[in-house]
């Protein structure tokens, strides 16, 4: 039994948008349902994605029942990235209880700085009392640990930002675009904690995204161009103190599971496009290794040789990725949508002949949790 994406919508990523969170969620949910050619009545279950600390509201979904279209629907809220809500939606469909699910994810970073929220993800009994610790300084330690284990240099980190910020200039939804970004621009941007500078950090912003997923029978009956979910892999690493910061072990586990489910043995050749959530530029290089598409410690070669440009052999983040805009709970879901758009041929920086794509979301400090989706077009495999 397979599940397909039959509709999606995303908002333009902005900061301090001229819209309430309720209206943004309402517009996004409505557009996604319309893009699937359905009405609210066709939706069986609604899963929203947001967190109480980011929204500044305990039970952040209770006043959004109308906006998410969940009035008198089988509803719940995933309190992490929207891609995890899609995983849960697939589970509700595969369990044979629902046919059509709507997933809506949002974060308005203007409400409260997500970097400040990251401090509350630290163990309060110990780490939180070190006032230097937050997601950026921890990412800096991760970057240094990775650079020590691999051949990556600061220039390589800057190259990732240059690639993604250039890709973003063709993307109408992106927040941050730099058509002619250079390594110097990135290395001269404001330093936070070496080697991490402002243009190497995904900029928190306001945004929402939504997808409609449906069972195989429903999708075949009502959708000309379904995007099939062929593989899913999910894994969570230990807490910061008892974990190897220089590699993404949970991504290695998650991607293997997704490949097995999708019957992929050589991801580098069999996958045509990758949309990954790189909250910091060094993480894109680590993600190459976690996905097993390059040798251990060789992540930097890909960016140096232009392999991951959208015209390269192994395009990564043609949409500009998280470095072009990070609406926290919506960012991973947007990666999923970008891969779906590549498959149906509606993407910015469209790569021709995309049959299979990989979307990745991360969650937690230094990408403690990783989730991988393999999507495929309606070709006869």
């Amino acid at each position: 039994m397979r599940v397909a994406i039959i509709g999606y919508s995303q908002t333009k990523f902005e900061y301090d948008v001229e819209m309430t969170r309720e209206e943004m969620v309402f517009k996004t949910a409505k557009d996604a349902i319309e893009s699937a050619g359905l009405t609210r009545e066709d939706i069986g279950t609604v899963i929203s994605a947001s967190t109480d600390f980011l929204d500044g509201r305990t039970i952040s979904n209770c006043m959004l029942i109308g906006a998410t279209g969940a009035y008198l629907k089988d509803e719940t809220k995933a309190e992490e990235d929207g891609m995890y809500a899609v995983l849960y939606a697939c589970q509700r469909i595969l369990a044979g209880i629902h046919d059509v699910a709507l997933v809506v994810a949002h974060t308005h970073s203007w409400i409260f700085n997500p970097h400040q929220v990251s401090v509350y993800m630290l163990d309060p009994l110990f780490d939180r009392q070190n006032d230097l610790l937050n997601d950026i300084t921890l990412a800096a330690l991760q970057a240094k640990a990775y650079m020590k284990r691999s051949n990556a240099t600061e220039d390589d980190l800057a190259l990732v930002s240059v690639k993604n910020l250039k890709n973003a200039s063709n993307n109408p939804y992106a927040l941050r675009k730099m058509p002619d970004a250079t390594i110097e621009d990135v290395l001269n941007s404001k330093i936070y904690a070496d080697p991490i500078r402002e243009l190497m950090v995904a900029p928190p912003c306001d945004g929402a995204a939504a997808v409609v997923v449906a069972s195989e029978d429903f999708a075949k009956k009502y959708c000309e161009n379904p995007v099939w979910i062929e593989g899913i892999g999910n894994s969570c690493d230990a807490y910061l103190r008892d974990r190897d910061l220089s590699r993404l072990v949970s991504l290695e586990i998650a991607s293997r599971k997704a490949y097995d489910m999708a019957g992929i043995s050589d991801p580098y050749r069999e996958i045509d496009v990758f949309e990954v959530t790189e909250r910091f530029s060094h993480q894109e290089l680590m993600i190459h290794e976690g996905l097993g598409i390059c040798g251990d410690g060789r992540g930097a070669n890909f960016i140096r040789m232009g392999i991951t440009e959208f015209y390269g052999d192994c395009p990564v983040n043609p949409s500009g990725g998280a470095l072009s805009g990070d609406a926290i709970c919506a960012t991973g879901l947007v990666r999923l949508i970008e891969v779906a758009k590549q498959i149906v041929g509606e993407a910015e920086n469209q790569i021709d002949g995309v049959q299979r794509g990989l979307a990745h979301a991360q969650w937690g400090l230094c990408a403690q949790k990783n989730l991988v989706f393999i999507l495929g077009g309606d070709y006869e495999a």
Partner: protein
């Protein structure tokens, strides 16, 4: 064909003012109790379902802090959170993870640590539900007198106090019936080693003597703010065979969680279309759908007991009607006749329920645990004498608008 899923083990931490443990240690207490109860080893667990209301305990995404406390390292962990129903939402998530065929054995745990907040009881978290609304109302010229009056009802019970008044108006019951239900809860809790407020032999008069907070809610009607964690371990039918489980297990036969519009006000103090907070159309639909999925036609006959999420006594009466056990507005008659006592014809909350023990994140999961224990005959002192073939675990949350309903049974659902 739907995969059948069973609960093969449950665990609870002691619920109370747990100043002796940290939030991570408390959750580990329930998780490892469940692993031992299920007689499996940590490696057998394929995935995890977790959830709590993170604003209460002051840690954002706490499951990422205690991942390696509960043997989840390297494994899939999914988090949901929905308010008072979070325990039920986590229980539902755990079921779906197995029923989807992705995993065979899943551990689902939910918890809350209220004592870690300096403000009394659950004020921080409850205030934070509508803190933005409050700020906007002040900007729109609400005066201090109205703020204090709103706090008068809100501090102890929030919008539930309005609901208690509306249910009384609708059903014609008396405040004495609320006293009876609260007394039953505290009496039963005395027979439950995990409960928080225990009052052996508590009577309606004992409760009637407690101070009136705001009519019709007395201090004796208000649930405590407890710390605690509850945990269940699910296994698919194949896994139950593979593990050669001989002892009785609790099968999940049907579940649903349909959401209503928020009852009191929208997120910028807009009006909502909910006039009678005790209508609870969300509970009616959730029950209908859960019974349909469980193949239950006549709830009152086919179901033997229920654990209802009732932090306040009027809610046990109200929800027992919405769940189809008693006629609309007539539940108080069943209370008078002792139908809902532990040895009654239709026991409700033999564990003492949420009125005696309320770690908000754990409570709705605790209802699932208690139903499973009754079906497996492992409820010890508060085991109901009658044979429990089917039981209903219910949770409510949000602004009086979310309901999780799960039907558990002693045999898998056969088409």
């Amino acid at each position: 064909m739907r995969r059948n899923v069973a609960i093969i083990g449950c665990g609870q931490s002691k619920h109370g003012r747990r100043t002796d443990v940290s939030q991570c240690e408390m959750v580990a207490e329930a998780v490892w109790a469940a692993i031992e109860d299920a007689e499996i080893s940590p490696e057998d667990i394929d995935a995890f379902a977790v959830g709590n209301m993170q604003g209460f305990g002051g840690i954002a995404q706490p499951d990422l802090v205690f991942t390696d406390f509960i043997a989840a390292t390297g494994k899939p962990v999914q988090r949901v959170a929905t308010g008072g129903t979070v325990g039920g939402s986590v229980a539902h998530l755990g079921y779906y993870e197995v029923a989807s065929g992705m995993y065979d054995i899943v551990l689902a745990v939910s918890w809350e640590k209220h004592s870690d907040s300096a403000e009394p009881g659950a004020t921080t978290g409850l205030l934070h539900v509508a803190f933005a609304n409050l700020s906007y109302m002040m900007k729109m010229g609400m005066d201090m007198r109205s703020f204090a009056i709103m706090g008068l009802a809100g501090a102890a019970a929030g919008v539930s106090a309005y609901q208690a008044a509306q249910y009384m108006a609708r059903s014609g019951c008396k405040i004495e019936h609320y006293d009876m239900v609260a007394a039953k809860a505290r009496r039963n809790a005395a027979k439950n080693k995990y409960a928080h407020l225990k009052w052996p032999g508590c009577t309606a008069d004992d409760i009637a003597k407690t101070e009136m907070i705001i009519w019709p809610m007395r201090f004796g009607h208000v649930c405590p703010a407890s710390d605690g964690a509850s945990c269940v371990i699910y296994a698919s039918e194949e896994a139950v065979k593979r593990l050669k489980v001989e002892r009785p297990v609790a099968w999940v036969k049907g579940l649903a969680a349909y959401a209503d519009e928020e009852a009191d006000q929208g997120e910028s103090y807009q009006g909502t279309g909910v006039v009678d907070y005790s209508d609870q159309i969300g509970c009616i639909i959730s029950a209908m759908k859960a019974y349909e999925r469980a193949g239950i036609k006549d709830p009152r006959k086919e179901i033997d007991m229920a654990e209802i999420y009732a932090p306040f006594p009027h809610q046990e009466l109200m929800f027992s009607e919405r769940l189809g056990f008693f006629e609309d507005g007539k539940a108080w008659i069943a209370v008078e006749e002792g139908v809902t006592e532990i040895d009654g014809d239709f026991p409700i909350c033999p564990s003492g329920g949420v009125n005696a023990t309320n770690a908000i994140g754990s409570s709705a999961m605790q209802r699932v645990v208690e139903c499973a224990l009754q079906i497996m005959g492992k409820a010890e002192e508060h085991q109901v004498p009658k044979d429990v073939r089917n039981a209903v675990a219910h949770g409510w949350g949000g602004q009086l608008q979310f309901n999780t309903v799960m039907v558990l049974g002693d045999s898998p659902k056969r088409k």
